[in-house]
Symmetry: C2
Subunit: 319 residues, 2 copies
């Protein structure tokens, strides 16, 4: 089942090469447990996925956030860091598709460059891909591990965003046998095994021909429309000086307010107007950019998206 | 639901004081992650539960196995260790009811003594109680945390042995708020949350009046009979010089063969006769007692128990 899903992103993985985990978060935790010692460096995008940062911090590793833009992590920033850092990082962590929190995707030429740089520096890469199937337009891009010359690329998929997060069934492709055995041992010490019952549910669902594809197509249609509604509402409602990303899939987009705003403070005001967003500060590695925030477009109706952004616009124009 | 189950072992726990984990093993992992640093000491019975030892080892803690007999851990051994150890241990780990691997229960007077000693030395106690409900005779003994003067006693229950291990729903009672918050943070970094779907299944099952009690009564009846069959077969089939524990509940009993046997080697011979047991060596902290083995009596029919032990007896008499 997971072998089939891996094939959809260009990865040939035998069932033997896959470790089932209790959600993607557990895979992040296990990889951190196996690969990272206190003080070790993990290189990532900036901003980066908060849950991954927390998993790495739990093992007292240090994250290094590199320059990222509307096409994802900048290969030049990675190269410059690796050439200049006195300490060799232990892991490169990326969400190449519809990143959390920004919604940005790593452009294809950059994927090839990053894979080549990582291979040159023998830097293991963890591709976290919870949103890749939620593609609204354009062609699917291959997983990093599918590029020529890739080495030590781990790939992490999950049923959470295409089926149900409450089932906690994710899957990690680990080609390297020695590393896979270490991760399996850590998995057993962590929770013995992932619920066999929820694994069976996922298996039963996914093995029915066309059912998952049809469900994902429905999700994409609904989420694409909501993204469009949100982008239009942002244009209509937010004052001048605000900018935002233009995701081509996934769940999130990322808003930058004019300089001087602090979205952590703003959330308290917004809560009084009964609207919510995720303040951007915790996603930043190092110094936070406080005028940023994450919006989710997949989970609310068109009417609520429009009303919510109208209220946010009013707050921003007022203050 | 878990509050109700806690009350059955004499613990008054509010829902707030309970952390749901993905099986007991995850609770062991989280406690180790939060409480233990490399080199820290964990005191336990000897032999002790292998999965707990592995969880502690994963954080580079050192286990200290103290003298245990047919009534469980010897309080005098605990006191002597605490009075003489230059390093204060971080945790006392016990399975007081029908211990894994021995099937032995910690006698009531010893519970009171151990609770008093642990309190005097400010030693946190983790009571792991997967089998307590599988009681074949005698009165239920209270949890360690229910004894007068108890302090810093954690209690770990699970649905695995009374409902289904594949659901991975366990529950940890942590009275201390600061510790509970640390464990909750570690839990979130480890897997975000335990499957909400399997939690709902357990909740739905347990909230129906009498259904769990009736199921546990059935389990106890079946397992009690199988224990009796196994005890009779051991008496009938094993050669002189073999001894075994007499569990009053649970799943396991513990056999000691005459000196000179090595059950790890014996397993290879047994496998050729198509029988299996768990060699005792990995359960020992420190120097293993190699002529020990664990038998499970809950999982096989009477006929298979009898046939299996007849074969084991033949092998032992032959060799």
């Amino acid at each position: 089942m997971c072998s089939h899903l891996a094939a959809t992103v260009g990865l040939a993985a035998t069932p033997d090469e896959i470790v089932i985990t209790s959600g993607s978060q557990q895979a992040l935790d296990l990889i951190a447990k196996v690969l990272l010692d206190p003080g070790d460096l993990v290189v990532t995008e900036n901003p980066a996925y908060l849950g991954a940062l927390q998993a790495f911090q739990a093992y007292e590793a240090r994250a290094v956030g590199l320059s990222s833009d509307e096409h994802g992590l900048q290969p030049a920033a990675l190269l410059a860091f690796l050439e200049s850092s006195p300490v060799r990082p232990k892991l490169l962590y990326l969400i190449p598709n519809y990143q959390n929190p920004t919604g940005v995707s790593l452009a294809a030429p950059r994927r090839a460059e990053i894979v080549a740089i990582a291979a040159r520096f023998a830097l293991p890469v963890l591709e976290d891909d919870p949103y890749g199937a939620l593609r609204f337009s354009g062609a699917a891009l291959p997983a990093l591990g599918a590029f020529p010359g890739a080495r030590d690329c781990l790939y992490l998929g999950t049923s959470s965003k295409i089926l149900a997060p409450g089932l906690r069934v994710a899957w990690l492709v680990v080609k390297d046998r020695a590393l896979r055995e270490k991760i399996t041992t850590a998995k057993q010490a962590a929770d013995l095994h992932t619920s066999s019952f929820t694994q069976r549910i996922v298996h039963h669902y996914v093995q029915q021909p066309g059912v998952l594809d049809a469900h994902v197509a429905t999700l994409c249609e609904v989420y694409r429309n909501r993204r469009d509604v949100m982008l239009a509402a942002l244009t209509r409602e937010l004052p001048a000086g605000c900018t935002w990303t233009q995701p081509t899939g996934g769940l999130f987009l990322w808003v930058t307010l004019p300089a001087g705003h602090d979205t952590t403070d703003l959330l308290h005001i917004a809560a009084r107007e009964k609207i919510a967003f995720v303040p951007g500060a915790p996603f930043w590695v190092g110094e936070p950019v406080r005028n940023t925030l994450r919006l989710n477009f997949s989970n609310a109706t068109d009417a609520r998206i429009n009303e919510g952004l109208a209220r946010l616009g009013t707050i921003l124009r007022r203050g």
